[in-house]
C-alpha cells in the first residue's frame, strides 16, 4: 500500500513540479517567520520601553496606554482572525491592494510584537536597576541608556524565550492559506489533492516542520552561548 502512495507522491513532487511549490512555501514560511519576528522585536521593544518608563510625564502614559490596548487586542484574538480582519476587512475598507504574503508578514509582525513586548518587559525588569542608574549618572539620557546598556542585557536574558516565539511563528505560518498565501501547508495539500493521496505528503510536511524547528532550536542555543561570553570567567 505504501509503495503506491509513495510513488504517487514522488510523481507529483517531481514530475508535476510540486517541489517548486514546496520550496516557495518553505521560502515564504521562513520570510514570514523571520521578518515577522524582526518587526515583532521592534514593536515589542517600543511597547516594553513605554511600559517600564517612569510615568511622571503625560507622553509615556499615553504611549503605555496605546501599548496596553494593542497587546490586549493581539493577544485576545487568534492569528487567523487577525489575518482575515486585515485582509478581508481593513484593507478593502482602506482601498489598499497588497500582496497576501506582504499582509501575512505585517500581521505576523504585529501579532508577535504583542507577545515580544511582554517577553521584553520581563527581560528589562530582570536587568539590575543599578545599570540604568550608572548610565544616567554619567549623563546619558534615558533612551540612550536603555539602548546602549539595558536592552542589550535584556535581550541576552530573554534569548531562549525569544527563540520560543520564533518557533511559534514558524508553526503559526500554517494558517496563511486562509488569505491565499503559499506556505508549506498549502504546497503539500496541493500535492495531496492532485491525486487524493494525503498520507505521504502530510507525513513529509510534518518531518520538514520538525527538522526546521530542531535546526532553529540548535541555532538559538549556539547564539545564546555566544552571547553569554560577557558572563563567562574566561
Amino acid at each position: 500500500m505504501w509503495e503506491a502512495k509513495w510513488n504517487a507522491f514522488i510523481k507529483t513532487f517531481i514530475e508535476s513540479e510540486g517541489y517548486i511549490r514546496v520550496l516557495t512555501g518553505l521560502k515564504n514560511t521562513a520570510l514570514i517567520a523571520v521578518i515577522g519576528l524582526l518587526i515583532g522585536i521592534v514593536i515589542g521593544t517600543l511597547i516594553a520601553i513605554a511600559a517600564v518608563t517612569p510615568k511622571y510625564k503625560v507622553a509615556p502614559r499615553i504611549f503605555d496606554g496605546i501599548g496596553k490596548v494593542y497587546v490586549g487586542f493581539f493577544r485576545g484574538t487568534p492569528m487567523v482572525v487577525q489575518l482575515l480582519l486585515t485582509y478581508y476587512v481593513l484593507l478593502p475598507l482602506l482601498g489598499i491592494k497588497i500582496d497576501s504574503l506582504m499582509v501575512c508578514i505585517i500581521v505576523f509582525g504585529m501579532n508577535s510584537g504583542a507577545y515580544v513586548s511582554e517577553i521584553m518587559r520581563s527581560g528589562i525588569q530582570s536587568v539590575d536597576g543599578g545599570q540604568l542608574e550608572a548610565a544616567r549618572a554619567v549623563g546619558l539620557p534615558y533612551g540612550t541608556s536603555m539602548i546602549k546598556v539595558v536592552i542589550p542585557q535584556a535581550i541576552k536574558n530573554i534569548l531562549p524565550t525569544l527563540g520560543n516565539e520564533f518557533i511559534t511563528l514558524i508553526k503559526e505560518t500554517s494558517v496563511v492559506s486562509f488569505v491565499g498565501a503559499l506556505d508549506l501547508y498549502t504546497a503539500f495539500s496541493y500535492i495531496g489533492s492532485n491525486n487524493y493521496e494525503f498520507m505521504v505528503p502530510y507525513l513529509v510536511m510534518a518531518a520538514i516542520y520538525l527538522t526546521l524547528i530542531l535546526v532553529v532550536t540548535l541555532l538559538v542555543r549556539i547564539l545564546e552561548r555566544r552571547m553569554k561570553k560577557s558572563d563567562r570567567r574566561h
Binding site: V138, G139, L140
Partner: protein, 269 residues
Amino acid sequence: MIDVINLQKSFGKKEVLKGVNVTIEEGEKVAIIGPSGSGKSTFLRCLNCLEDPTGGSIIFEGEDLADLKVDINKHRENIGMVFQHFNLFNNLTVKQNIMLAPVTLNKKKRAKNRRIKLYNAIFKKDKPLYAVSSLKDAKKEAEENALRLLNRIGLADKADVYPSTLSGGQKQRVAIVRALAMNPKVMLFDEPTSALDPEMVGEVLDLIKEVADEGMTMLIVTHEMGFAKNVASRVLFMDDGVIKEEGTPEQIFEHPECERLRDFLEKVL
C-alpha cells in the same frame, strides 16, 4: 560650589530627608557618616537627581537641580558618581565602559548641532553651536584617555575583558576611573567599599585618596571611620533625615557634641 537648601525627600508618606542645609566649597572632601536609615545615601543620590528631591533646592553652577525643567544630563556630566555595587555595564568591556559616555555624548552633541544649524538656517537665527571635535577624534581621545586611566590603576591588561572577570576591588577601581573619564567637577561616592571583601578595601580607598589629593571636590558616604578621619576635610553626621552635627574630623571624632553622635561613635569605633 554646591548649595543645598532645605532639601527634602519622601518616598510616599515616609519622609527620608527632612530639610538638609549644607554648602560644599570647591576642593572640599566631605565625609557623610551616620546610622543606616539616616538618609545619607538618599541625600547623596538627590545631589545628581537619581532620586528627585520632593522639596528644597540644590544650586550647582547657578542652576537649581531640584527643578525638573533643568537639563539634568548636562549637569550629571560634571558630577561623577561611584556606587556601592560598582554598576559597571555588564554588556561592555572594561575599556568600553570608560569610553561609552564620552563617545556617546559627543555623538549627541553633534546631532544637536545639526538641529541648531537647521534651526538657524530656517529662522535666520544665530544660536550658538556646541564646541565638539569630530567623532573620529573623540573616539581616539576617549580611547587614549581610557587606556591612560587604566594604566594609572594598573589594569591596562584588563582593557578588553568583561567586568564579570574582575574582582570586586578591580571593578570598583574601574568604576572610579569611569567617572573620572568625564572630568567631573565633583565626585559622589556612595559607600564605595561596603560591598567589598575586606582585603580589597585598601586598594579602593588608596585610589580615592589619590583622587582627593589631586584636589577633586568629593562627597563620600562611608562606614570607614578611619578613612573619614584621614581624608575628609569636613565630616557631616546625619541622623533622622537631617544633618545633626558637622565639623572637622577632629571635632566630630574627638569632641562630639550631640548625644546621638556620641552614641553612634561608641558603637562603630
